[in-house]
Symmetry: C2
Subunit: 341 residues, 2 copies
C-alpha cells in the first residue's frame, strides 16, 4: 500500500485524521511528503521554512526557470537535505509530477493564473493543496476549487499569511471572546506601494528600471500584466483572509453582495515616465487598474466590509484594518502625512 | 433707500460687492443686520460668537421654545446688546420675520428638516443665508436651493465648520500647492458616538435617560426621529465639506455616481435596553438607520471618495480623513483599540 492509498484508507476512519498529519506520521521514517511547484523568490523562502521541519520531506520540485531552480537547489544543499527530483519540461509538466509522484501535499507559489489549474490537478490526484494567494481569479474558479475539494475530500488551503500575524490572532481571539460585542463593520485592504515590484531592470527583483513582462524579473515578469488587463481589487485576501473568520464567513454567515469603485489610473504610468522617460516604450502602455479600488461588501447577518486595493502610489504600508462591534473596535492606521521625494 | 435696496443696487456694480460685507459697511453706524432662526443650544453658541463682532447687529430672533428664547436673551444681556425683536408665533412665524424685517442675512440653526424651507424663504425675501448642516434632505431640495440662489442672486452658505479646522485648512493649502500631486482618493465621515445626544432624560441635553421625540430635550427632541425613519448617510457634510474644495467639486469637477451600504442596526436599541430596560416603551422602536453606512462616490475627473456615517456605537471621535494623491497622502486615524465599559 503506497502512501496515497494509506492516507485514503485512513481518511475513512474520520475526517479529522486527514487534516492532522501528526497523527498519521508518528515516526521519522514516515515523514510528510510535500512537493513544491514554483521555486521563485517566494517559493525559495517557503522551501527554506518547510525544510526546517524535521517531520517533512520535499522529494520533488517543479519550475520552468533554470535560474530559480539553481537557487532553490542551493537551499536544499545549505539545509543538508537530499536533492529533489525536478520537473521542468514546460509549463504543463506539473501535471506529470502530480500524477506520478506519491505526495501528501503540494505547495504552490507560481504566477496567480496558475494557482487554480495546479490546485485542481493536485486534488484530482488526491493530493492536499496549499496555494499562495489569490487561489483563483474568477468566481467560477472559486466554485471549481470548492467542488473539487468536496468531491475528492482534499484540503485546499489558501495560504494567507496575514491571518497568522500576532495582532490579527489576538483580535480574532478578542472577537471570539465577545470583547467587541456583535460585529457590525470590518475593514481591510492591500495598501502597499508596489511600483518597485511591478517594474525592475530585469536583473534584480526590486526597482532599478521600468521593465515588466518578458523583460522583467521575478514578479515584474508576470504580476504587472494583471494591472494592464484588469480593473478590480486584484488582491483582496490580505484583508478578507483575517476578516472572514471573525465574521464567521461560510461558517453560518456569507457575503451577499458588493460594489467596487476604482479611481483613475495614474501611478504606474507616472512611474515609468519618471524613471524611464517619456520615450520609453512602456510609457505608451494603458494600465486598466485604477490606483485606488474601494469595495464594499454586505454580509447575510448584516455586517459590512470595506476593502481597499492601493498598490500604485507612494504611501506607507498599511492593511487598513478595522474590526468594529457594538461594544468597541480595533483600528490600525496612524494619523500621518506622507510625501514622496 | 432701505438697506435691502441699497445692497441690491450695489450688487449691480459687481458680484464681488455682494459677498464682501466689509466693503458695504464701512462705518459702525452701518452694521450688518443678521437675523437668527433657531435659538437652541447651537443657536445660542453662535449668537454669542456673532455678537462678539462689533460690525454686526442681531435685531431679531425667531424660535418657538420659550426656554430657549430665555436662554438666548441672557446672551444678549451678558454681551450688553439691545434685546432683539422676537418672532415666536408658531413654526411658520419665520416667514413673517423674513418678509417684514430689513435684514442682510439670516443664520439658521433649526431641526434639519426646516433648513430648506427657511433658506428658500430668506432668499425669496432677498436675504443672504447661512444655514447649519445639512442644508437639505433630498436631491430636489438641493436643486431648489441652487436655483433660488441663482434666481435671486443671494448667497446660500452651508456653514460646515469642519472646513475651518486648522488641519483641514493646512491640507487644503497643501493640495492647492500640489504637494500631494494629482488627487486620486479622499475619505471622510462622521464617526461620532451620539447615543448620549440621541437620548436623554428630557431635561439635560446629554444622556441621563433614553427619551427622544416629544419627551426628549434639545437634539433628542427632533434629531433621533431621523434614525427611526431613514437608512442613509444622514450627515455627510463633515466629510464632504472639506473634501469638495480639495477636489474642485462644482469648480470643474463633479460627482457622477455613488453607492451606499448600511450595516445592521443595533446600537440605538441596545442603548435603550441597557439604560432603560427591556420594558421601556422605546425598546420596541425599530430604528431604520444602520450603525455603519459606507458610501463610495465617483467623480468626473476620476477620483473616488469614501464616506462613513457611524453614530450609534461606542468609538473614539474621528472624521476619518484621508486625502491621497499621486505624490503622497494625509491620513488622520490612530491605530487603536477601544472597548466600552
Amino acid at each position: 500500500m503506497n502512501r496515497r492509498n494509506f492516507i485514503k484508507t485512513s481518511a475513512v476512519l474520520g475526517t479529522a485524521a486527514s487534516i492532522m498529519p501528526s497523527s498519521l506520521f508518528a515516526s521519522a521514517s514516515n515523514k510528510l511528503q510535500v512537493g513544491v511547484i514554483g521555486t521563485g523568490l517566494r517559493g525559495q523562502g517557503m522551501t527554506r521554512l518547510l525544510l526546517d521541519r524535521p517531520d517533512l520531506d520535499i522529494p520533488v520540485i517543479c519550475d520552468i526557470d533554470n535560474k530559480m531552480i539553481d537557487m532553490v537547489l542551493n537551499v536544499f544543499e545549505k539545509q543538508g537535505r537530499p536533492m529533489p527530483k525536478i520537473y521542468k519540461d514546460g509549463p504543463e509538466d506539473f501535471r506529470n509530477m502530480l500524477s506520478k509522484e506519491d505526495l501528501d501535499g503540494v505547495y504552490i507559489a507560481t504566477p496567480w493564473e496558475w494557482h487554480h489549474p495546479m490546485a485542481i490537478s493536485a486534488m484530482e490526484n488526491n493530493i492536499h493543496v496549499g496555494t499562495e494567494v489569490p487561489a483563483a481569479l474568477t468566481v467560477n474558479e472559486c466554485w471549481d476549487l470548492v467542488n473539487t475539494s468536496e468531491k475528492k475530500n482534499k484540503l485546499c488551503m489558501i495560504m494567507e499569511n496575514v491571518n497568522y500575524r500576532r495582532d490579527i490572532m489576538a483580535v480574532l481571539n478578542m472577537v471570539r471572546k465577545g470583547f467587541f460585542g456583535e460585529l457590525i463593520h470590518c475593514q481591510g485592504g492591500y495598501q502597499h506601494d508596489l511600483r518597485h515590484v511591478k517594474f525592475n531592470d530585469g536583473k534584480s527583483a526590486y526597482g532599478g528600471g521600468v521593465e515588466f513582462g518578458e523583460k522583467g524579473f521575478s514578479e515584474a515578469h508576470w504580476r504587472t500584466q494583471h494591472s494592464v488587463d484588469r480593473n478590480a481589487d486584484l488582491y483582496p485576501t490580505h484583508g478578507l483572509g483575517p476578516i472572514s473568520p471573525m465574521l464567521d464567513i461560510n461558517r453560518g454567515n456569507r457575503m451577499v453582495h458588493l460594489t467596487s469603485t476604482a479611481s483613475q489610473s495614474r501611478g504606474l504610468h507616472n512611474y515609468i515616465v519618471e524613471h524611464g522617460g517619456e520615450d520609453h516604450p512602456n510609457a505608451k502602455i494603458n494600465f486598466k487598474l485604477g490606483d485606488v479600488v474601494t469595495t464594499v461588501i454586505k454580509c447575510a447577518k448584516g455586517q459590512t466590509i470595506m476593502l481597499s486595493h492601493d498598490t500604485n502610489s507612494p504611501r506607507p504600508y498599511s492593511l487598513n484594518f478595522r474590526v468594529q462591534g457594538t461594544q468597541g473596535l480595533w483600528m490600525k492606521d496612524n494619523k500621518s502625512i506622507y510625501i514622496e521625494g
